[in-house]
Structure formats: C-alpha cells, structure tokens
C-alpha cells in the first residue's frame, strides 16, 4: 500500500476524530481573534505557531523531547522487564503467586505519586529518581496483564504439551508465553501510557534537567502560555503516535484471539 492510500484510509476512518480537532481549533481561533480572553491567558494560534518555530530553532524542543523520551525508554524498560518477569513467575508458579501477590496487591494500592517523597529521599532529584518513578508506574500494568494472560491460557493446551513431552522451558516458550501475548501487549500499552504521565509529572516536580515537563513548567513560571501550548500539543501528538503504534502491534499479535472470542 502506498503512503497516499494509507493517508487516505486514515482520513476516511478517522474523519470524525478530525472534525473535533478542527472544531476546537476554530473555537480557539475565534476566541483569541475577537479577544474574548486576553492573550496573556490564551495565546492565538499564530502566536503558538511562532513559539513552536522558536523552540524548534533554538533546539529547546528537540533536547527537551529527546531527554523525556530517553527517560521514558529507560524507566519503561526497567519497569516492564521486571513486571514481565514477576508476571511470568506468578503466572506459572502457585508458590510465587502466594509469595508475591499479597505484597504487590498492597503496593499497587499506593497512588504512584505517593512514592515521590520516598524516591526523592532515596534517589535524590536527579535522573535516578525520575527513572525509578517511571519504572514503578510501568511495573504494575505489565505485571497484572502478564499474570492474567498466563492464567487465561487454556488447560487443554497444557495437556497437548504434556502429550508431546514438553519440558518446563519448552512449555513456557511455546505455549504459555505465546498464549499470553495479547494480554502482555495490552499491558505494555498501558505501561507506556503511564510512563508518559509520570515523566511529565516527575519533570515538573523534581525539576533539574532538560525535559518536556521542564519546558512546560518554566513556561508556566515565565508566564509564557504559548510555550505551554506547544508542549501540550507536542506531548499529545507524540503520545498519540506511540499509542497508535502499540495499538497496531496489539491488533496484529492478537488476530488469532479476536477470531476465537
């Protein structure tokens, strides 16, 4: 499929979604054009476009977005890896479940933001604290969905594996994990969403380096709503694209499941 047909399909299928964006844009333009709200509070679309060009040219946006993405990637990687491993262990072993499930269920009830003071005490306000924070946020969704996914693998497939004399490793590799893949991917998607939320939150609250949250926060301090608008639009677009990407991945890896349920 060529790029143009791809775009055409996208516009056709997302037509209604685009309408709401357009409507919001028109309202925004009108409100600022007729100065219903002062430009101090609501920058006009051209002002935001100008600010956008400015932060791109100065390199501020690129550096900020880049450092935030690196943080997300690191925290997400640590959190999902650990979450996946614990999820698999608890999924396949009743002993592991009995050992860890109560602990994780208790910790899961703590609002993520409640960890902040402790993390700052333990890790300071630099990179490690932000990454730990994102890791914790990414850990739980993948843990739960991996666990659920493994438990949902039908016992009848396990019997097939028994008949073929699969050992534990082969059982895990060939049946248990593949069977849990759709759940795991939706867990990854949830973890990714949480990571975005947390990176912005952490950057705003433990400001120390570059990041999209820092840019946003300094825009607030400096009374520069145009920059804040740029940040919000950029976060929205990038997070939307990442979510779409994982959505496609999920749909692709789950075709077999959809046709079964």
């Amino acid at each position: 499929m060529s790029i143009t047909t791809n775009v055409a399909t996208f516009i056709r299928t997302r037509y209604h979604g685009l309408v709401s964006f357009l409507a919001l844009f028109i309202v925004w333009s009108a409100v600022s054009h007729y100065e219903l709200v002062s430009a101090e509070y609501l920058p006009s679309p051209p002002a935001v476009a100008k600010a956008f060009v400015k932060v791109i040219k100065s390199g501020q946006l690129g550096v900020s977005l880049g450092s935030s993405l690196v943080r997300i990637a690191e925290g997400f990687f640590i959190g999902t890896t650990l979450g996946f491993l614990f999820g698999v262990a608890m999924g396949v072993s009743a002993t592991a479940e009995r050992l860890f499930a109560p602990l994780f269920n208790a910790l899961r009830q703590v609002p993520i933001i409640g960890w902040i003071p402790l993390i700052i005490v333990w890790c300071g306000i630099n990179e490690p604290s932000k990454i730990s924070f994102i890791s914790i946020g990414a850990f739980f969704p993948i843990l739960l969905s991996t666990f659920e996914g493994i438990r949902s693998v039908s016992k009848s497939y396990l019997e097939v594996a028994q008949v073929f004399e699969y050992n534990r490793i082969k059982l895990l590799r060939k049946i248990v994990v593949p069977g849990a893949v759709p759940n795991i991917v939706s867990g990854i998607r949830l973890s990714m969403g949480t990571s975005w939320l947390l990176v912005v939150w952490a950057e705003i609250n433990t400001r120390s380096a570059y990041g999209i949250g820092d840019l946003l926060s300094s825009a607030g301090d400096g009374k520069k709503p145009d920059i804040a608008f740029v940040c919000i639009i950029v976060i929205g677009i990038v997070a939307f694209l990442i979510n779409e990407l994982f959505g496609h991945l999920e749909a692709r890896l789950s075709t077999w499941r959809k046709s079964y349920r």
Binding site: Y157, V160, E165, W256, R257, S259
Partner: protein, 258 residues
C-alpha cells in the same frame, strides 16, 4: 521404525477421591488391542470412556491394575501414543504447518519438514501450511489435529470423540478419511464415540461400556468387509446388537412406516 502398538489392559480400576467421598469411575476393565486394530469404545455419557482414554494417554494418573503398551507399563504421556481430542486443540497462534510440527524435536530439520509435508498430504491439507486454525473449518482443523498426532509416527492413536463436534455430512466424509489414514498408516486406533454408526463403519471391535461404575459390558466384533455399507443387512444387524446393550433396540428392524 517398526510400528507395534499392542495395548493390554488388565483389571484396570480408577477411583476419584474427594474429601469424604470415593467414586469408582472404572471397574475391572480388561481389554487387549492387537497392532493395527481399530477399536471403538462406545457408551453413554458418564460411563468413564474418556477417563479410560485419558489413562491410556497418561494424562490421568493413579489407577489400579495394569496398562501395558508392547509389554511395558505406561508412565505418563509419551510420543509413542498420539492423541486427537474432541476439540482440535490446535494452537491458534501457530500456522497449520507449525502446529503439525509441534511434537517434533527439531521442527526445522529437513527430515521434520518432510514429515510435516507428508502428513499434511496424508490428511488432505496440502496447500494449507501457512493458514491459521481460525481460517479452517471444523473438519479441516480436526484433520490437522490428526496430522499433528501422527507426525511422530506413534504406535497407537487415541481418538476422543474426534468427530463429535462436526456436522453429520462432514462426519460421514471424515469416516472415509479416517479409514483411509488407518489403512495407509497401519496404525492401532482406539476411538471413543457415542455414535453407533460411526463405530460400526470404522471398527474391528466395538467395546460397549456401561455406567456407574464404568465396566465393559460387551465386546462386539465387526467382521464386515470394508468399505462398509450402512444400509446392508449385516450392518443393520450389528447395529441392532449394539443398541440392544442400551435397551434401545427396535423389535422389528425392517418394519418401516411409510
């Protein structure tokens, strides 16, 4: 490889124990199946026929008596016994070719590829290698399951109501296919069924079981030439004999109302 597959079952009993109860599911089963024989086990639901099959497969443990395959006591599931379940149990995330290769040690070797191809051809699924289970009909899925069970060249194939979920016409077609596969592979087959016609069309011997506890009521030989004609006198006669065991026989098999 020499295909043996003599199954001897001696004084087999199986009890399920719950906290304060004991239920005898199978009681004193004695049965010998010769290599290359086709045996059907027929009985009403709850007679323990599936439990019997699961014991022979090795998925059910803890029994009294003996189950011997070629003189050796069974110890858990083995590649020497192929199984086809009622629900085909193909892994939905694997292509047909990979499903069929599930039981092979190294599914990528030339030898394995050849075996997979041969067995797909045997069950008439050539050209469906890359398809996924959800793209196949019930009959085709069951054929893929048969190919998967046969690919290791087991001595004995155990079928647990393999055609039970298929519609009547597909089932009759699958009877021919199963008979052809059985002849071609010269393999011992033991099939659980509740379809009397199916049992007579396919079997050398029909084992009739009664319920609570499950015991063998009668073993009825089927000495008819193959392929069998469902409308022939002898066929109907045997059907009568089987149905009699279930108190379902009609007094006058050839008096039809028009």
């Amino acid at each position: 490889m020499e295909r043996l597959g003599t199954l001897e079952v001696k004084n087999l009993s199986k009890k399920f124990r719950s906290r304060n109860d004991e239920l005898t599911v199978l009681n004193d089963i004695n049965l010998t199946v010769q290599p290359g024989e086709f045996i059907s086990i027929i009985g009403s639901s709850g007679c323990g026929k599936t439990t019997f099959l699961r014991l022979v497969v090795g998925l059910e443990k803890g029994y009294e008596g003996e189950i011997l395959l070629d003189g050796q006591r069974l110890n858990g599931p083995s590649l020497k016994r192929g199984v086809v379940f009622q629900d085909h149990r193909l892994l939905p995330w694997l292509s047909i070719e990979k499903n069929v290769g599930m039981g092979l040690k190294d599914a990528k070797s030339d030898e394995s590829r050849k075996a997979i191809q041969e067995h797909l051809e045997l069950v008439g699924l050539k050209g469906f290698e890359k398809h996924y289970p959800h793209q196949l009909s019930g009959g085709m899925s069951q054929r893929a399951a048969i190919a998967r069970a046969l690919v290791n060249r087991p001595g004995i194939l155990l079928l647990d109501e393999p055609l039970g979920a298929l519609d009547a016409l597909t089932r009759m077609y699958m009877h021919q296919e199963l008979e052809r596969i059985w002849k071609q592979e010269k393999i011992t087959m033991i099939m659980i069924t509740h379809d009397v016609d199916e049992a007579i069309v396919l079997s050398d011997k029909i084992v009739v079981m009664s319920s609570r506890p499950g015991t063998i009521k009668k073993i009825i030989p089927v000495p008819l030439a193959r392929p069998r004609d469902r409308a022939s006198y002898d066929f109907v006669k045997i059907k009568e004999e089987v149905l009699e065991e279930f108190q379902l026989h009609t007094e006058h098999p050839f008096t039809y109302t028009i």
